[in-house]
Symmetry: C2
Subunit: 342 residues, 2 copies
DNA sequence: TTTCAACACGAAAACGATTTCGTGCCAGTG
DNA sequence: CACTGGCACGAAATCGTTTTCGTGTTGAAA
């Protein structure tokens, strides 16, 4: 076992001082050409690489950014991560990932953990429980310490920071509008409960689209689901005696559960009922029928978030402290779960 | 903006020495009761937390483990990550994730990056390109520096280290055996090229099962696919005039592409052709027909890998240096893409 | 010959924490 | 009164870098 080479060892080996070695490696003109070459050759030969921890301590920068998300086994979040990773890598940053598991406590613990020197800034999407509690002291704490924070997807108005979101309202509205355009008359909404901001906003979009087309809002056509686990059951129960010809679901799973139920009960998708989901995952693409969805462009959100964060990190503090909210546009990907336009 | 509190500041504020503060906070009996209480009260009030970077430098441990995987937008890998995260969190470790993007160069760069003090050890699955090249100098380098390495899934015999794998041969064999059991006579294999170890091993299992049942091996029934992108096309071409009644695919995507083709050409799954995939993802579960698959238990692999790594990390070096290979059992999840046993 | 840059390098502080080893003071003992 | 031991605390080294500020040597100019 050969431990890592340090400046000190090089110095001893070549019989010069530590500072000389450091300067030589950083091409300081202070050092004579011959010693410089000698040191660089030695370092190269033994593959010297400076210790990141020491550098972090000295520079008070870690060159890593922390991502805190509710869960990772979820296509949307992984695309965001890969977007962040890509930009971070290009800019010489590392990415450290923590999962809150949708728990407030874990979110707080992870954040405090990372805030103690492990990362320079945060990119995060809030845990469901956090939004429910409305307790954001950990975010405020981190911001007040001067660490940049970029929220994405599950954001909250009370916190002043950069944000990357999609236009949930417009996305939902466009989806429902499409259902109306292809002739749907009774359109159901499968949503999550309102304290999850996306649920609320997408519901808004749903209502807006109905309104614009002079459809009457029927609260009986709206289902709000609390737990992922019970979704299938709830949806089946909900659809039991509803006579709908269009369904807008706020995620893939709800959409697919709905399609399954419909098909099992003698109707066809999209001939009898058109279904649109939200979030464009593998599932939507390969399901049969493939799903028409509002696509969220997770990768782009991740890239955007990373760019904003790194920009903040590399700007000398004090420069105009402005917070941006970037809205990543959604797209409507038309596939086979909706009728085509007449 | 209020910067983070340090020992030095507390010391100055309370007019004692830095060492006294440090000792007081760590409950050293050296410090008198009254000063100790005073310091602890102050620290608590101002929410002092030691700086991780400084601790890392001092202790020569970062308490973080590095994960390097080919890609993250892949259900299997995310389950592994969440398994690692879970165990790591319980043991007070952080997780830092890098993606190799299946590129050898990126894998090397990431590894060198993290090895310079950022992590205490590695959990990784090799990039396709790395296995193709057969160049593992970066792994050897890291191991020789005394950093524990745990390989999972895409592992390689030449490297001596701990490994967590599934029994690909047995998993494949069981799958094919099941096809035989339900009466399939002509069973095709959709595999990847051989330098991806899983492709090779699963092909072995396929052959083994045939052999055991005195089936004749027909090389024409084996398709090896190089690139994910061309898979759909290749599979369609391959199935064109093959008269098969069973298909074993080494992943979900191949399986689904096959099903699509079969259905589009007037045959039914599972009535005419039974299909089994590998890796139990969301897609398999919710596809129609839902897929019978060999499930890989990614979470368990992640947990296992993390446990092994942390154990190595916390063991004083020198203690018997033994490498383990843990085999996580696969399961055959029977769903609707295969006929039921007669 | 003296003086003064320029050159090439080293000593030391700093980042924030832990830890070893003093050290001053006081009480108790012979 | 002198000695010893324990208590409560501080100084300094350490981890591996970077960087500022010397400092000794040389060569050239006066």
């Amino acid at each position: 076992m050969r431990p890592k080479l340090t400046l000190k060892q090089i110095a001893k080996e070549l019989d010069v001082s530590i500072s000389t070695v450091s300067k030589a490696l950083r091409d300081s003109p202070e050092i004579g050409e011959d010693t410089r070459e000698k040191i660089k050759a030695f370092a190269k030969f033994y593959n010297y690489k400076p210790n990141n921890i020491a550098l972090s301590l000295k520079n008070r920068k870690t060159k890593t950014i922390g991502i805190i998300i509710p869960e990772i086994v979820h296509h949307f979040f992984t695309t965001v991560i890969s977007g962040v990773e890509k930009v971070a890598n290009e800019m010489g940053y590392n990415v450290i990932i923590c999962l809150s598991d949708n728990s407030f406590d874990k979110e707080v613990i992870n954040m405090e953990m990372l805030a103690n020197g492990s990362t320079d800034g945060f990119i995060m999407s809030l845990a469901k429980e956090t939004m429910q509690k409305g307790d954001y002291h950990h975010l405020i704490e981190v911001i007040s310490q001067g660490m940049p924070l970029v929220l994405f997807d599950r954001v909250v108005d009370q916190i002043l920071c950069d944000k990357v979101i999609i236009d949930d309202v417009l996305g939902a509205q466009k989806a429902v509008q499409h259902l109306i355009d292809i002739g749907c008359k009774r359109i159901a909404l499968l949503s999550t409960v309102d304290y999850v901001s996306v649920g609320k906003l997408r519901t808004q979009g749903y209502k807006l689209a109905l309104e614009e087309n002079d459809f009457e809002l029927d609260e009986d056509l709206i289902l709000k689901i609390e737990e992922m686990e019970e979704s299938e059951e709830k949806i089946e129960h909900f659809l039991k005696d509803k006579d709908v010809d269009g369904i807008f679901a706020v995620n893939e799973h709800f959409a697919i559960s709905a399609i399954k139920y419909i098909q099992e009960h003698g109707k066809r998708v999209p001939e009898d009922v058109s279904v649109i989901g939200f979030t464009d995952g593998e599932l939507s693409k390969r399901f049969i029928p493939s799903l028409t969805t509002v696509s969220q462009h997770g990768t782009r959100m991740g890239e955007e978030a990373a760019r904003i964060l790194i920009e903040k990190l590399e700007k000398t503090p004090g420069e105009d402290e402005q917070y941006r909210t970037v809205i990543v546009e959604t797209g409507l990907v038309k596939r086979n779960s909706t009728k085509s336009l007449k």
